[in-house]
Protein backbone atom coordinates (compact mmCIF):
# COMPACT_ATOMS: atom_id res chain seq x y z
CA UNK A 1 0.00 0.00 0.00
CA UNK A 2 1.36 3.41 -0.90
CA UNK A 3 0.99 6.66 0.98
CA UNK A 4 -1.37 9.10 -0.77
CA UNK A 5 -0.38 12.70 -0.46
CA UNK A 6 -3.28 15.15 0.06
CA UNK A 7 -1.63 17.65 -2.32
CA UNK A 8 -0.57 16.87 -5.86
CA UNK A 9 3.00 15.75 -6.12
CA UNK A 10 4.25 18.69 -8.18
CA UNK A 11 3.25 21.18 -5.46
CA UNK A 12 5.30 19.50 -2.74
CA UNK A 13 8.48 21.20 -1.55
CA UNK A 14 11.38 19.13 -2.71
CA UNK A 15 14.63 20.35 -1.28
CA UNK A 16 17.60 19.74 -3.54
CA UNK A 17 19.96 18.70 -0.78
CA UNK A 18 22.70 17.63 -3.13
CA UNK A 19 22.79 21.10 -4.65
CA UNK A 20 22.76 22.83 -1.24
CA UNK A 21 25.62 20.74 0.00
CA UNK A 22 27.60 21.25 -3.18
CA UNK A 23 26.98 24.99 -2.94
CA UNK A 24 28.15 24.94 0.67
CA UNK A 25 31.39 23.26 -0.34
CA UNK A 26 32.04 25.80 -3.09
CA UNK A 27 31.34 28.78 -0.82
CA UNK A 28 33.51 27.34 1.91
CA UNK A 29 36.37 26.82 -0.52
CA UNK A 30 36.15 30.36 -1.94
CA UNK A 31 35.98 31.97 1.50
CA UNK A 32 38.92 29.87 2.70
CA UNK A 33 40.87 31.16 -0.30
CA UNK A 34 39.98 34.73 0.71
CA UNK A 35 41.19 34.08 4.24
CA UNK A 36 44.36 32.62 2.81
CA UNK A 37 45.17 35.96 1.17
CA UNK A 38 46.47 37.16 4.54
CA UNK A 39 48.97 34.30 4.60
CA UNK A 40 49.99 35.08 1.03
CA UNK A 41 50.45 38.75 1.99
CA UNK A 42 52.85 37.80 4.76
CA UNK A 43 54.70 35.43 2.46
CA UNK A 44 54.85 38.15 -0.20
CA UNK A 45 56.31 40.65 2.26
CA UNK A 46 58.91 38.22 3.54
CA UNK A 47 59.94 36.94 0.09
CA UNK A 48 60.10 40.44 -1.44
CA UNK A 49 62.31 41.68 1.37
CA UNK A 50 64.53 38.56 1.41
CA UNK A 51 65.19 38.52 -2.34
CA UNK A 52 66.23 42.16 -2.56
CA UNK A 53 68.19 41.95 0.68
CA UNK A 54 70.05 38.92 -0.66
CA UNK A 55 71.02 40.80 -3.83
CA UNK A 56 72.07 43.79 -1.75
CA UNK A 57 74.47 41.79 0.35
CA UNK A 58 76.13 40.45 -2.79
CA UNK A 59 77.46 43.96 -3.31
CA UNK A 60 77.83 45.27 0.23
CA UNK A 61 79.28 43.22 3.03
CA UNK A 62 77.17 42.58 6.09
CA UNK A 63 80.11 43.70 8.21
CA UNK A 64 80.17 47.17 6.63
CA UNK A 65 76.39 47.34 6.92
CA UNK A 66 76.61 46.80 10.67
CA UNK A 67 79.77 48.75 11.47
CA UNK A 68 80.01 51.76 9.15
CA UNK A 69 79.25 55.04 10.86
CA UNK A 70 78.06 56.83 7.72
CA UNK A 71 74.95 56.41 5.60
CA UNK A 72 75.56 57.82 2.12
CA UNK A 73 74.00 55.32 -0.32
CA UNK A 74 73.35 57.89 -3.05
CA UNK A 75 76.91 59.31 -3.08
CA UNK A 76 79.76 58.12 -5.29
CA UNK A 77 81.66 56.69 -2.33
CA UNK A 78 78.59 54.97 -0.93
CA UNK A 79 78.61 53.94 2.73
CA UNK A 80 75.89 51.82 4.29
CA UNK A 81 76.02 52.10 8.07
CA UNK A 82 72.50 51.12 9.12
CA UNK A 83 73.05 52.29 12.71
CA UNK A 84 72.82 55.88 11.46
CA UNK A 85 69.19 55.32 10.49
CA UNK A 86 68.44 53.07 13.45
CA UNK A 87 69.76 55.68 15.90
CA UNK A 88 67.41 58.28 14.43
CA UNK A 89 64.46 55.91 14.59
CA UNK A 90 65.29 54.96 18.17
CA UNK A 91 65.59 58.65 19.06
CA UNK A 92 62.22 59.73 17.64
CA UNK A 93 60.48 56.62 19.00
CA UNK A 94 61.96 57.13 22.46
CA UNK A 95 60.77 60.74 22.56
CA UNK A 96 57.37 59.56 21.32
CA UNK A 97 57.05 56.98 24.10
CA UNK A 98 58.20 59.46 26.75
CA UNK A 99 55.31 61.68 25.65
CA UNK A 100 52.72 59.01 24.94
CA UNK A 101 53.16 56.60 27.84
CA UNK A 102 52.23 58.97 30.72
CA UNK A 103 49.54 60.77 28.70
CA UNK A 104 47.99 57.57 27.36
CA UNK A 105 48.12 55.61 30.59
CA UNK A 106 46.79 58.45 32.75
CA UNK A 107 44.03 59.10 30.21
CA UNK A 108 43.14 55.39 30.28
CA UNK A 109 42.97 55.46 34.10
CA UNK A 110 40.84 58.58 33.98
CA UNK A 111 38.38 57.11 31.47
CA UNK A 112 38.08 53.80 33.25
CA UNK A 113 38.20 54.82 36.92
CA UNK A 114 37.33 58.49 37.35
CA UNK A 115 35.10 59.60 34.49
CA UNK A 116 31.36 59.04 34.83
CA UNK A 117 29.84 56.91 32.10
CA UNK A 118 28.35 60.05 30.52
CA UNK A 119 31.70 61.84 30.31
CA UNK A 120 33.31 58.63 29.14
CA UNK A 121 30.87 58.30 26.26
CA UNK A 122 31.86 61.81 25.17
CA UNK A 123 35.62 61.42 25.60
CA UNK A 124 36.05 58.08 23.86
CA UNK A 125 34.81 59.34 20.47
CA UNK A 126 37.06 62.42 20.86
CA UNK A 127 40.05 60.14 21.32
CA UNK A 128 38.89 58.11 18.31
CA UNK A 129 38.96 61.30 16.23
CA UNK A 130 42.52 61.90 17.42
CA UNK A 131 43.36 58.35 16.33
CA UNK A 132 41.75 58.88 12.93
CA UNK A 133 43.72 61.97 11.95
CA UNK A 134 45.92 61.04 8.95
CA UNK A 135 49.61 61.08 9.77
CA UNK A 136 50.38 63.58 7.02
CA UNK A 137 48.20 66.06 8.93
CA UNK A 138 50.25 65.40 12.07
CA UNK A 139 53.32 66.03 9.92
CA UNK A 140 51.98 69.42 8.94
CA UNK A 141 51.23 70.12 12.60
CA UNK A 142 54.73 69.09 13.70
CA UNK A 143 56.56 71.13 11.08
CA UNK A 144 54.46 74.29 11.09
CA UNK A 145 53.02 74.50 14.61
CA UNK A 146 55.05 72.50 17.12
CA UNK A 147 58.50 73.35 15.72
CA UNK A 148 57.96 77.16 15.74
CA UNK A 149 56.51 76.81 19.25
CA UNK A 150 59.56 74.87 20.45
CA UNK A 151 61.87 77.38 18.80
CA UNK A 152 60.43 80.04 21.11
CA UNK A 153 61.36 77.88 24.11
CA UNK A 154 64.66 76.48 22.85
CA UNK A 155 66.67 79.12 21.00
CA UNK A 156 68.85 77.70 18.24
CA UNK A 157 66.56 74.76 17.56
CA UNK A 158 66.77 73.87 13.89
CA UNK A 159 63.77 73.93 11.56
CA UNK A 160 63.94 70.16 11.16
CA UNK A 161 64.60 68.25 14.36
CA UNK A 162 63.96 64.93 16.05
CA UNK A 163 62.37 66.56 19.11
CA UNK A 164 59.33 68.05 17.45
CA UNK A 165 58.79 64.99 15.24
CA UNK A 166 59.10 62.70 18.26
CA UNK A 167 56.64 64.71 20.34
CA UNK A 168 54.04 64.67 17.59
CA UNK A 169 54.55 60.95 16.89
CA UNK A 170 53.93 60.55 20.62
CA UNK A 171 50.69 62.51 20.40
CA UNK A 172 49.58 60.42 17.45
CA UNK A 173 49.93 57.19 19.44
CA UNK A 174 48.31 58.46 22.68
CA UNK A 175 44.83 57.26 21.57
CA UNK A 176 46.19 53.79 20.81
CA UNK A 177 47.70 53.40 24.29
CA UNK A 178 44.70 55.05 25.95
CA UNK A 179 42.01 52.97 24.34
CA UNK A 180 43.76 49.58 24.52
CA UNK A 181 44.95 50.14 28.10
CA UNK A 182 41.49 51.33 29.04
CA UNK A 183 40.03 48.06 27.79
CA UNK A 184 42.54 46.15 29.91
CA UNK A 185 41.92 48.25 33.02
CA UNK A 186 38.16 48.14 32.58
CA UNK A 187 38.29 44.34 32.41
CA UNK A 188 39.76 44.02 35.91
CA UNK A 189 36.90 42.65 38.02
CA UNK A 190 35.26 44.82 40.63
CA UNK A 191 35.89 42.29 43.37
CA UNK A 192 39.62 43.05 43.26
CA UNK A 193 38.97 46.75 43.79
CA UNK A 194 36.51 46.02 46.58
CA UNK A 195 39.10 43.81 48.25
CA UNK A 196 41.64 46.63 48.22
CA UNK A 197 39.11 49.13 49.56
CA UNK A 198 38.20 46.71 52.35
CA UNK A 199 41.85 46.66 53.39
CA UNK A 200 41.72 50.42 53.76
CA UNK A 201 43.43 51.46 50.53
CA UNK A 202 42.46 54.74 48.97
CA UNK A 203 41.33 54.89 45.35
CA UNK A 204 44.80 55.84 44.06
CA UNK A 205 46.46 53.09 46.09
CA UNK A 206 43.91 50.60 44.74
CA UNK A 207 44.57 51.68 41.17
CA UNK A 208 48.33 51.69 41.44
CA UNK A 209 48.92 48.58 43.50
CA UNK A 210 45.96 46.38 42.55
CA UNK A 211 44.26 47.41 39.30
CA UNK A 212 47.32 48.28 37.21
CA UNK A 213 49.27 45.11 38.10
CA UNK A 214 46.18 43.05 37.29
CA UNK A 215 45.90 44.75 33.90
CA UNK A 216 49.65 44.63 33.25
CA UNK A 217 49.67 42.23 30.30
CA UNK A 218 47.09 44.28 28.39
CA UNK A 219 48.86 47.54 29.15
CA UNK A 220 52.25 46.22 28.06
CA UNK A 221 50.72 44.82 24.87
CA UNK A 222 49.22 48.22 24.07
CA UNK A 223 52.52 49.98 24.73
CA UNK A 224 54.48 47.56 22.55
CA UNK A 225 51.98 48.00 19.74
CA UNK A 226 52.41 51.77 20.16
CA UNK A 227 56.21 51.43 20.05
CA UNK A 228 56.06 49.46 16.83
CA UNK A 229 53.67 52.07 15.41
CA UNK A 230 56.15 54.80 16.39
CA UNK A 231 59.04 52.94 14.77
CA UNK A 232 57.11 52.47 11.54
CA UNK A 233 55.70 56.01 11.57
CA UNK A 234 56.61 57.65 8.30
CA UNK A 235 54.98 60.91 7.32
CA UNK A 236 55.55 62.82 10.55
CA UNK A 237 59.29 62.08 10.62
CA UNK A 238 59.67 62.52 6.86
CA UNK A 239 58.19 66.03 7.13
CA UNK A 240 59.46 67.28 10.47
CA UNK A 241 62.65 65.39 11.36
CA UNK A 242 64.60 66.22 8.24
CA UNK A 243 66.67 64.23 5.75
CA UNK A 244 70.08 64.37 7.34
CA UNK A 245 71.67 61.00 8.14
CA UNK A 246 73.84 61.57 11.20
CA UNK A 247 74.83 59.08 13.85
CA UNK A 248 73.94 60.20 17.35
CA UNK A 249 71.09 60.91 19.71
CA UNK A 250 70.94 64.71 19.62
CA UNK A 251 67.23 65.65 19.48
CA UNK A 252 67.84 69.25 18.37
CA UNK A 253 69.33 68.59 14.93
CA UNK A 254 67.87 67.11 11.73
CA UNK A 255 68.07 63.32 11.52
CA UNK A 256 66.94 60.70 9.03
CA UNK A 257 64.93 57.71 10.20
CA UNK A 258 64.61 54.41 8.36
CA UNK A 259 61.16 55.31 7.09
CA UNK A 260 62.23 58.81 6.01
CA UNK A 261 65.00 57.25 3.94
CA UNK A 262 62.54 54.99 2.12
CA UNK A 263 60.38 58.03 1.35
CA UNK A 264 63.38 60.03 0.11
CA UNK A 265 64.45 57.30 -2.31
CA UNK A 266 60.87 56.62 -3.44
CA UNK A 267 60.34 60.27 -4.35
CA UNK A 268 63.50 60.30 -6.44
CA UNK A 269 63.82 58.57 -9.77
CA UNK A 270 65.58 55.33 -8.84
CA UNK A 271 65.77 52.65 -11.53
CA UNK A 272 64.71 49.16 -10.45
CA UNK A 273 67.61 46.78 -9.93
CA UNK A 274 70.08 49.49 -8.94
CA UNK A 275 71.85 49.36 -5.62
CA UNK A 276 69.91 52.38 -4.34
CA UNK A 277 66.66 50.59 -5.22
CA UNK A 278 67.76 47.58 -3.19
CA UNK A 279 68.72 49.76 -0.24
CA UNK A 280 65.09 50.62 0.50
CA UNK A 281 64.28 46.92 0.74
CA UNK A 282 67.21 46.34 3.08
CA UNK A 283 66.03 49.20 5.28
CA UNK A 284 62.51 47.80 5.02
CA UNK A 285 63.82 44.40 6.09
CA UNK A 286 65.50 45.96 9.13
CA UNK A 287 62.26 47.72 10.00
CA UNK A 288 60.25 44.53 9.51
CA UNK A 289 62.59 42.47 11.70
CA UNK A 290 62.44 45.04 14.51
CA UNK A 291 58.63 45.26 14.50
CA UNK A 292 58.32 41.47 14.20
CA UNK A 293 60.58 41.01 17.22
CA UNK A 294 58.42 43.45 19.19
CA UNK A 295 55.29 41.58 18.10
CA UNK A 296 56.68 38.23 19.18
CA UNK A 297 57.82 39.67 22.50
CA UNK A 298 54.35 41.13 23.10
CA UNK A 299 52.72 37.80 22.21
CA UNK A 300 55.00 35.97 24.64
CA UNK A 301 54.51 38.58 27.39
CA UNK A 302 50.72 38.46 27.17
CA UNK A 303 50.73 34.65 27.31
CA UNK A 304 53.10 34.62 30.25
CA UNK A 305 51.51 37.32 32.37
CA UNK A 306 47.86 37.26 31.47
CA UNK A 307 45.61 37.21 34.55
CA UNK A 308 42.38 35.40 33.91
CA UNK A 309 39.26 36.19 35.89
CA UNK A 310 35.96 34.42 35.76
Amino acid sequence: MTFESPVPDDRLWKPNRKLSQWMEGVVKFIFAAFAFISVITTLGIVLTLIFETFDFFKEVSLWNFLTDTKWTPLFKSAKFGIWVLISATVLTSAIAIIVALPLGLLAAICLSEYATSRVRSLLKPALEILAGVPTVVYGYFALLFVTPLLQLLIPGLQGFNALSAGIVVGISIVPLIASLSEDAIYAVPRSLRDGAYALGATKRETIISVVLPAALSGIVASVILAVSRAIGETMIVALAAGQNPTLGLNPFVPVMTMTAFIVQVSLGDTPAGSLAYRTIFVVGMTLFVITLALNIFSFWFVRRFREKYE
Partner: protein, 304 residues
Amino acid sequence: MNRDPFIEGDPASATSQFKVNLSGRYKIDRIFEIATWAAVCISLLVLAALVVDVLVDGLPRLNWSFLTSFPSRKPEEAGILPAFAGTLWVMVIIAVLSFPLGVGAGIFLEEFSQDNWLARTIEININNLAGVPSIIYGLLGLQVFVRIFEPVTGGRSVLSGALTLVLLVLPIIIVATREALRSIPDSLRLAGFALGATRWQVVREQILPLALPGILTGTILALSRAIGETAPLITIGALTFIPYLPDNLQSPFTTLPIQVYNWVSRPQKEFHDTAAAGIIVLMVVLLLMNATAVFLRNKFQKRF
Protein backbone atom coordinates in the same frame (compact mmCIF):
# COMPACT_ATOMS: atom_id res chain seq x y z
CA MET B 1 68.39 43.49 62.87
CA ASN B 2 65.15 45.13 61.92
CA ARG B 3 62.40 42.56 62.16
CA ASP B 4 58.99 42.93 60.55
CA PRO B 5 56.46 43.57 63.33
CA PHE B 6 53.62 42.06 61.25
CA ILE B 7 55.40 38.74 60.99
CA GLU B 8 56.60 38.81 64.55
CA GLY B 9 53.00 39.22 65.66
CA ASP B 10 53.44 42.11 68.04
CA PRO B 11 50.24 44.18 67.63
CA ALA B 12 51.46 47.10 69.71
CA SER B 13 54.58 47.67 67.68
CA ALA B 14 52.60 47.10 64.47
CA THR B 15 50.19 49.92 65.18
CA SER B 16 52.97 52.19 66.24
CA GLN B 17 54.80 51.60 62.97
CA PHE B 18 51.81 51.76 60.63
CA LYS B 19 50.99 55.42 60.13
CA VAL B 20 47.50 55.80 58.68
CA ASN B 21 48.05 59.45 57.72
CA LEU B 22 44.75 59.61 55.88
CA SER B 23 44.81 63.32 55.06
CA GLY B 24 48.23 63.02 53.45
CA ARG B 25 47.17 60.03 51.38
CA TYR B 26 43.98 61.71 50.28
CA LYS B 27 46.00 64.71 49.21
CA ILE B 28 48.13 62.52 46.93
CA ASP B 29 44.90 60.92 45.70
CA ARG B 30 43.60 64.30 44.73
CA ILE B 31 46.83 65.17 42.87
CA PHE B 32 46.70 61.83 41.07
CA GLU B 33 43.13 62.36 39.95
CA ILE B 34 43.97 65.84 38.70
CA ALA B 35 46.93 64.39 36.80
CA THR B 36 44.69 61.88 35.02
CA TRP B 37 42.24 64.62 34.03
CA ALA B 38 45.15 66.79 32.90
CA ALA B 39 46.32 64.00 30.59
CA VAL B 40 42.89 63.84 28.96
CA CYS B 41 42.70 67.64 28.68
CA ILE B 42 46.17 67.88 27.11
CA SER B 43 45.19 65.33 24.46
CA LEU B 44 42.01 67.22 23.68
CA LEU B 45 43.82 70.59 23.67
CA VAL B 46 46.31 69.25 21.14
CA LEU B 47 43.43 68.11 18.95
CA ALA B 48 41.87 71.57 19.28
CA ALA B 49 45.18 73.29 18.49
CA LEU B 50 45.61 71.11 15.42
CA VAL B 51 42.12 71.87 14.12
CA VAL B 52 42.35 75.60 14.82
CA ASP B 53 45.82 75.83 13.26
CA VAL B 54 44.65 74.13 10.08
CA LEU B 55 41.45 76.18 9.88
CA VAL B 56 43.22 79.52 10.42
CA ASP B 57 45.81 78.79 7.75
CA GLY B 58 43.58 76.99 5.30
CA LEU B 59 40.14 78.61 5.36
CA PRO B 60 41.16 81.84 3.57
CA ARG B 61 42.64 79.71 0.81
CA LEU B 62 39.59 77.49 0.42
CA ASN B 63 37.28 78.40 -2.46
CA TRP B 64 35.55 76.87 -5.44
CA SER B 65 38.48 77.27 -7.81
CA PHE B 66 40.71 75.48 -5.29
CA LEU B 67 38.45 72.45 -5.61
CA THR B 68 38.26 72.56 -9.40
CA SER B 69 41.83 73.52 -10.38
CA PHE B 70 44.87 71.49 -11.24
CA PRO B 71 48.10 71.83 -9.27
CA SER B 72 50.32 74.70 -10.29
CA ARG B 73 53.74 76.14 -9.67
CA LYS B 74 51.99 79.26 -8.40
CA PRO B 75 50.51 78.56 -5.00
CA GLU B 76 47.58 80.94 -5.47
CA GLU B 77 46.44 79.04 -8.57
CA ALA B 78 47.06 75.52 -7.26
CA GLY B 79 44.03 73.30 -6.89
CA ILE B 80 43.18 69.90 -5.61
CA LEU B 81 41.03 68.39 -8.37
CA PRO B 82 43.34 65.54 -9.54
CA ALA B 83 44.09 64.56 -5.95
CA PHE B 84 40.41 64.52 -5.10
CA ALA B 85 39.60 62.45 -8.18
CA GLY B 86 42.49 60.10 -7.39
CA THR B 87 41.25 59.59 -3.85
CA LEU B 88 37.75 58.79 -5.16
CA TRP B 89 39.15 56.27 -7.67
CA VAL B 90 41.26 54.59 -5.02
CA MET B 91 38.39 54.56 -2.54
CA VAL B 92 35.95 52.92 -4.97
CA ILE B 93 38.44 50.24 -6.05
CA ILE B 94 39.34 49.44 -2.45
CA ALA B 95 35.69 49.24 -1.44
CA VAL B 96 34.77 46.95 -4.35
CA LEU B 97 37.68 44.58 -3.72
CA SER B 98 38.19 44.60 0.02
CA PHE B 99 34.54 44.27 1.08
CA PRO B 100 33.83 40.83 -0.46
CA LEU B 101 37.34 39.55 0.30
CA GLY B 102 37.33 40.73 3.91
CA VAL B 103 33.77 39.65 4.68
CA GLY B 104 34.30 36.26 3.01
CA ALA B 105 37.47 35.66 4.97
CA GLY B 106 35.76 36.79 8.19
CA ILE B 107 32.82 34.43 7.57
CA PHE B 108 35.18 31.56 6.88
CA LEU B 109 37.16 32.10 10.08
CA GLU B 110 34.13 32.67 12.29
CA GLU B 111 31.46 30.35 10.84
CA PHE B 112 33.07 27.64 8.72
CA SER B 113 36.49 26.78 10.04
CA GLN B 114 37.17 24.30 12.78
CA ASP B 115 39.89 24.98 15.26
CA ASN B 116 42.65 23.42 13.20
CA TRP B 117 46.16 24.43 12.16
CA LEU B 118 44.91 26.34 9.12
CA ALA B 119 42.57 28.53 11.13
CA ARG B 120 45.20 29.15 13.78
CA THR B 121 47.88 29.99 11.21
CA ILE B 122 45.59 32.49 9.53
CA GLU B 123 44.60 33.99 12.85
CA ILE B 124 48.20 34.52 14.02
CA ASN B 125 48.96 35.92 10.60
CA ILE B 126 46.21 38.52 10.77
CA ASN B 127 47.39 39.61 14.22
CA ASN B 128 50.92 39.92 12.92
CA LEU B 129 49.91 41.89 9.84
CA ALA B 130 48.24 44.48 12.05
CA GLY B 131 51.68 45.26 13.53
CA VAL B 132 53.49 45.62 10.19
CA PRO B 133 54.28 49.27 9.38
CA SER B 134 52.28 50.57 6.42
CA ILE B 135 55.40 51.55 4.50
CA ILE B 136 56.37 47.85 4.30
CA TYR B 137 53.11 47.23 2.43
CA GLY B 138 54.33 49.94 0.09
CA LEU B 139 57.52 47.97 -0.59
CA LEU B 140 55.43 44.85 -1.23
CA GLY B 141 53.21 46.80 -3.63
CA LEU B 142 56.24 48.26 -5.39
CA GLN B 143 57.75 44.85 -6.03
CA VAL B 144 54.61 42.82 -6.73
CA PHE B 145 52.05 45.15 -8.29
CA VAL B 146 54.30 47.75 -9.89
CA ARG B 147 57.12 45.46 -11.10
CA ILE B 148 55.96 41.84 -11.42
CA PHE B 149 52.37 42.49 -12.50
CA GLU B 150 53.19 45.56 -14.57
CA PRO B 151 51.43 44.25 -17.73
CA VAL B 152 48.18 43.99 -15.75
CA THR B 153 48.39 46.99 -13.48
CA GLY B 154 50.24 49.37 -15.76
CA GLY B 155 53.06 50.03 -13.30
CA ARG B 156 52.73 53.02 -10.99
CA SER B 157 48.98 53.18 -11.54
CA VAL B 158 45.83 53.83 -9.58
CA LEU B 159 45.17 50.06 -9.64
CA SER B 160 48.57 49.24 -8.08
CA GLY B 161 47.96 51.84 -5.36
CA ALA B 162 44.50 50.55 -4.58
CA LEU B 163 45.62 46.91 -4.49
CA THR B 164 48.39 47.79 -2.05
CA LEU B 165 45.90 49.52 0.23
CA VAL B 166 43.48 46.59 -0.09
CA LEU B 167 46.12 44.33 1.47
CA LEU B 168 46.62 46.96 4.18
CA VAL B 169 42.94 47.20 5.19
CA LEU B 170 41.93 43.54 4.75
CA PRO B 171 42.98 42.53 8.29
CA ILE B 172 40.90 45.42 9.72
CA ILE B 173 37.79 44.37 7.78
CA ILE B 174 38.29 40.70 8.68
CA VAL B 175 38.51 41.54 12.39
CA ALA B 176 35.44 43.82 12.21
CA THR B 177 33.46 41.12 10.38
CA ARG B 178 34.38 38.50 12.96
CA GLU B 179 33.37 40.76 15.83
CA ALA B 180 30.04 41.53 14.18
CA LEU B 181 29.36 37.84 13.55
CA ARG B 182 30.36 36.93 17.09
CA SER B 183 27.79 39.34 18.50
CA ILE B 184 24.95 37.34 16.88
CA PRO B 185 23.73 34.75 19.41
CA ASP B 186 24.11 31.07 18.62
CA SER B 187 20.41 30.40 19.17
CA LEU B 188 19.66 31.98 15.79
CA ARG B 189 22.10 29.64 14.06
CA LEU B 190 20.70 26.60 15.88
CA ALA B 191 17.18 27.59 14.83
CA GLY B 192 18.31 27.65 11.22
CA PHE B 193 20.01 24.27 11.47
CA ALA B 194 16.89 22.83 13.10
CA LEU B 195 14.92 23.83 10.02
CA GLY B 196 17.31 21.83 7.89
CA ALA B 197 19.34 24.68 6.45
CA THR B 198 22.97 24.18 5.59
CA ARG B 199 25.59 26.30 7.27
CA TRP B 200 25.89 28.60 4.28
CA GLN B 201 22.12 29.02 4.07
CA VAL B 202 22.00 29.97 7.75
CA VAL B 203 24.80 32.49 7.32
CA ARG B 204 23.33 33.98 4.15
CA GLU B 205 19.72 34.21 5.27
CA GLN B 206 19.95 34.70 9.03
CA ILE B 207 23.31 35.80 10.31
CA LEU B 208 24.74 38.06 7.64
CA PRO B 209 21.75 40.45 7.40
CA LEU B 210 21.89 40.94 11.18
CA ALA B 211 25.64 41.42 11.24
CA LEU B 212 25.70 43.73 8.22
CA PRO B 213 25.51 47.08 10.07
CA GLY B 214 28.51 46.13 12.20
CA ILE B 215 30.40 44.89 9.16
CA LEU B 216 29.63 48.05 7.17
CA THR B 217 30.75 50.25 10.06
CA GLY B 218 34.04 48.41 10.27
CA THR B 219 34.50 48.58 6.51
CA ILE B 220 33.90 52.32 6.35
CA LEU B 221 36.36 52.90 9.20
CA ALA B 222 38.92 50.75 7.36
CA LEU B 223 38.31 52.75 4.18
CA SER B 224 38.83 56.02 5.99
CA ARG B 225 42.10 54.62 7.31
CA ALA B 226 43.06 53.74 3.73
CA ILE B 227 42.41 57.12 2.19
CA GLY B 228 44.44 58.83 4.90
CA GLU B 229 47.46 56.64 4.14
CA THR B 230 50.37 58.36 2.45
CA ALA B 231 53.52 56.32 2.96
CA PRO B 232 52.63 53.16 0.99
CA LEU B 233 51.45 55.21 -1.97
CA ILE B 234 54.62 57.30 -2.02
CA THR B 235 56.62 54.07 -1.97
CA ILE B 236 54.83 52.58 -4.96
CA GLY B 237 55.42 55.87 -6.74
CA ALA B 238 52.17 57.80 -6.84
CA LEU B 239 53.01 61.06 -8.55
CA THR B 240 53.03 64.31 -6.67
CA PHE B 241 52.23 66.47 -9.68
CA ILE B 242 49.78 65.45 -12.37
CA PRO B 243 47.98 67.94 -14.60
CA TYR B 244 45.21 65.55 -15.70
CA LEU B 245 42.61 63.26 -14.21
CA PRO B 246 42.94 59.47 -14.05
CA ASP B 247 40.63 57.95 -16.68
CA ASN B 248 41.28 54.23 -16.37
CA LEU B 249 42.69 51.70 -13.93
CA GLN B 250 46.19 52.01 -15.37
CA SER B 251 46.41 55.81 -15.13
CA PRO B 252 49.06 57.48 -13.02
CA PHE B 253 47.45 59.14 -10.05
CA THR B 254 47.84 61.22 -6.94
CA THR B 255 45.70 61.37 -3.80
CA LEU B 256 44.76 64.02 -1.24
CA PRO B 257 47.36 63.08 1.40
CA ILE B 258 50.15 62.90 -1.18
CA GLN B 259 49.22 66.29 -2.57
CA VAL B 260 49.20 67.67 0.98
CA TYR B 261 52.61 66.12 1.64
CA ASN B 262 53.97 67.68 -1.52
CA TRP B 263 52.73 71.14 -0.56
CA VAL B 264 53.93 70.94 3.05
CA SER B 265 57.41 69.87 1.98
CA ARG B 266 57.88 73.01 -0.14
CA PRO B 267 59.61 75.95 1.51
CA GLN B 268 57.16 78.73 0.55
CA LYS B 269 54.63 79.90 3.14
CA GLU B 270 51.91 80.19 0.45
CA PHE B 271 52.18 76.50 -0.33
CA HIS B 272 51.81 75.70 3.37
CA ASP B 273 48.50 77.55 3.41
CA THR B 274 47.47 75.65 0.30
CA ALA B 275 48.38 72.46 2.16
CA ALA B 276 46.17 73.52 5.07
CA ALA B 277 43.27 74.02 2.66
CA GLY B 278 43.96 70.54 1.27
CA ILE B 279 43.94 69.15 4.80
CA ILE B 280 40.52 70.70 5.40
CA VAL B 281 39.16 68.92 2.32
CA LEU B 282 40.73 65.63 3.44
CA MET B 283 39.40 65.97 6.98
CA VAL B 284 35.90 66.82 5.76
CA VAL B 285 35.90 63.65 3.61
CA LEU B 286 37.08 61.59 6.60
CA LEU B 287 34.56 63.22 8.92
CA LEU B 288 31.71 62.43 6.53
CA MET B 289 32.79 58.79 6.34
CA ASN B 290 33.11 58.49 10.10
CA ALA B 291 29.74 60.12 10.60
CA THR B 292 28.20 57.59 8.19
CA ALA B 293 29.80 54.77 10.15
CA VAL B 294 28.51 56.07 13.48
CA PHE B 295 25.06 56.64 11.97
CA LEU B 296 24.92 53.07 10.65
CA ARG B 297 26.05 51.72 13.99
CA ASN B 298 23.47 53.64 15.98
CA LYS B 299 20.59 53.25 13.55
CA PHE B 300 20.74 49.61 12.54
CA GLN B 301 22.73 47.82 15.22
CA LYS B 302 20.53 45.39 17.16
CA ARG B 303 21.44 44.31 20.65
CA PHE B 304 20.84 40.73 21.67
